[in-house]
Symmetry: C2
């Protein structure tokens, strides 16, 4: 398929209605905030609909107030997964929760993508149980967008916390999944993939990373990505790479360190501008520029960890997301639903498994490529 | 010993001359920058002297030009460790290098602390070979200062790259060493220690971290620190904790991620202020406040990774350090040399080993405490 034909089919895909399955419960700010975010998202996205999960008596007035009843179906669920619930306990007794219902709608094919602000561990456990891992995936991963110097403004990093460990073959699967996400979510035809390590030299770092590197180098042609080698923490916000692959322990710590550093700097910046009368005037004059910067690095804009490696796409929104954050997570869900990400990722991983079995022939590469481009 | 007596002996310790052993070579900017930084440091610190290592013919004119010949002894060393040299190769053939000579002066007792801008791996390998690990230390660690919301403006994090692995007992040693560093470097009598993990809940994270936590909890009274529990990436710049303990792989990635994020934001901030005529005027008005913020988060101010767990203290300055950066690393070295850090750390670790053998009795705690407070 040529690039032009691919672009045309992407446009066509966007024209169909995308249905999002939205968990109204479990966020720190309650269902009113989720419904407000949903209303804002729907106003911006005419060809989207939603199934909203939670206690009907609580949700119906919120939906009526926002006047989105014609595009939102409420599905009654009386229980809520709490932030303190353990995943194992939720799997045993959580079938009446809004979270379970949210994933179920995707499983049944009624919706394209699931979105929840709730407990990450519980959401991953329920998603794995209901949606199952894609063929060839041992460990699913959570991918996040990271503000960067790249033209799109973002890099993809995974895993940021689905699992605390990853073997070499998991890191290979993450590379394939991350590249598909960057292709469909950021519109990059051939994403550049890097493996996070403590040095870019060949002799540095953990042995399992060298093994993973060998696997990723071999898979790059079939995965339709460029492998750029080891990258360091300092490269996360750079334009050297589009997809950063790491285990969930390291990725989670890097993600939270980056967020913490950004928060510290913006607090100090605010204090600096409040210090003197002159600096307060300066802040007024620079308002537009500062707001532009703020939007650029606003964590709410990049809200949404994407669960990859399952048979359907699930998005975890920040528990503390406000209306803007919820709307951002829903927009991301819409984009990935419209591009058919989950089918593409599944095809890509399955092809990697086929390749590993067949050995890497030119023919196999072409088959794999054709399979992702036309998942039907 | 009472707090007052301790304070008095600290003042007394500061009155004696501290001799720094300084590697003039190996930095990206060459020996002229190191000598310039040394001159600035000496001007600010009347009771310090230095032994400067490198090719005498090259260094003598630089020292004369800066008029610091009366306080600086040049020690001729013809070879230089390059950034690309492998540690193993340097250990075999590096005895004529300025780096070897720098560490040797500390080993021979001619200087109190060694400072080098050179190759980290080579510096650690040579330091371990010449200075030997302190009793009870299996893996030395590199500690860095991290800008934070704490009153001192900094937290201590270790290990940030000495070794890519750490077992539970290494993490215990890091906690002891980091607490001693915070006590002597930041002046905190009872530092708060946290263990870096992906969640603060007891059931989250890697099994070896839970094991390390048990060891650290038991050692806290003898180590004269408070253990605050698991901390997350977002806590690194916070005021919840003073010392963050982690393995060298995770610590290095967190350090570089934090630096990269800070660099991205300051670049974007500069761009925002250059965008319009109005914002340029605003930048002028806010100059003082912005410079204050810049100084606060300037990585050059926190220059200097401290090698802990050896019988003497070695400081690794950033390879790209400029005059300000070199002076900052030398000031840190002076402070640690004046406080007798290496002796205190060694005593502290040795006491932990004793405690582990004896079991934790009130008596043993007191012995350990007395030993650190009065290392002679």
């Amino acid at each position: 398929m040529t690039q032009a034909v691919q672009d045309a089919s992407a446009t066509e895909a966007k024209a169909k209605t995308v249905v999002l399955s939205v968990d109204a419960m479990g966020g720190d700010k309650g269902p009113a905030t989720v419904v407000a975010g949903l209303a804002r998202f729907l106003a911006d996205t005419p060809d989207a609909k939603a199934i909203l999960h939670g206690p009907e008596a609580e949700l119906a007035p919120l939906v009526t107030k926002r006047r989105i009843g014609d595009r939102v179906t409420i599905r009654d669920a009386r229980d809520v997964v709490k932030m303190t619930d353990k995943p194992s306990q939720v799997l045993r007794s959580g079938k009446e929760t809004s979270m379970w219902s949210t994933i179920d709608a995707v499983k049944q094919g009624e919706a394209d993508v699931a979105v929840s602000c709730g407990n990450t561990g519980a959401l991953m456990a329920m998603s794995m149980l209901q949606l199952r891992r894609a063929e060839g995936v041992k460990r699913p991963a959570i991918a996040c967008l990271w503000p960067s110097r790249n033209p799109s403004g973002f890099n993809v990093m995974l895993d940021v916390g689905a699992d605390i460990r990853a073997e070499a073959d998991d890191l290979l699967a993450f590379a394939m999944m991350g590249a598909s996400y960057a292709r469909n979510g950021l519109g990059l035809p051939t994403p550049r993939v890097g493996l996070l390590n403590v040095g870019t030299e060949e002799h540095k770092g953990r042995a399992e990373l060298k093994e993973a590197q060998d696997l990723i180098v071999r898979a790059a042609p079939a995965g339709a990505f460029d492998y750029v080698g080891f990258v360091e923490g300092g490269d996360l916000p750079s334009d050297r790479v589009d997809v950063i692959v790491t285990d969930g322990f390291t990725g989670n710590i890097a993600l939270k360190t980056g967020e913490g550093t950004a928060t510290l700097i913006s607090t100090l910046l605010k204090e600096a501008f409040n210090k003197t009368f002159l600096s307060r005037i300066a802040a007024l004059l620079a308002m537009t520029s500062l707001m532009r910067l703020r939007r650029r690095i606003d964590p709410r804009r990049v809200n949404g960890g994407v669960f990859l490696g399952l048979n359907k796409t699930v998005i975890k929104s920040h528990g503390s997301a406000d209306e803007t954050g919820v709307a951002a997570a829903l927009s991301l869900a819409y984009k990935l639903g419209a591009s058919g990400l989950s089918e593409r990722v599944a095809a890509r991983i399955a092809s990697a498994v086929v390749l590993a079995q067949d050995g890497l022939t030119e023919d196999a590469e072409n088959r794999a490529r054709a399979k992702e481009e036309d998942p039907q």
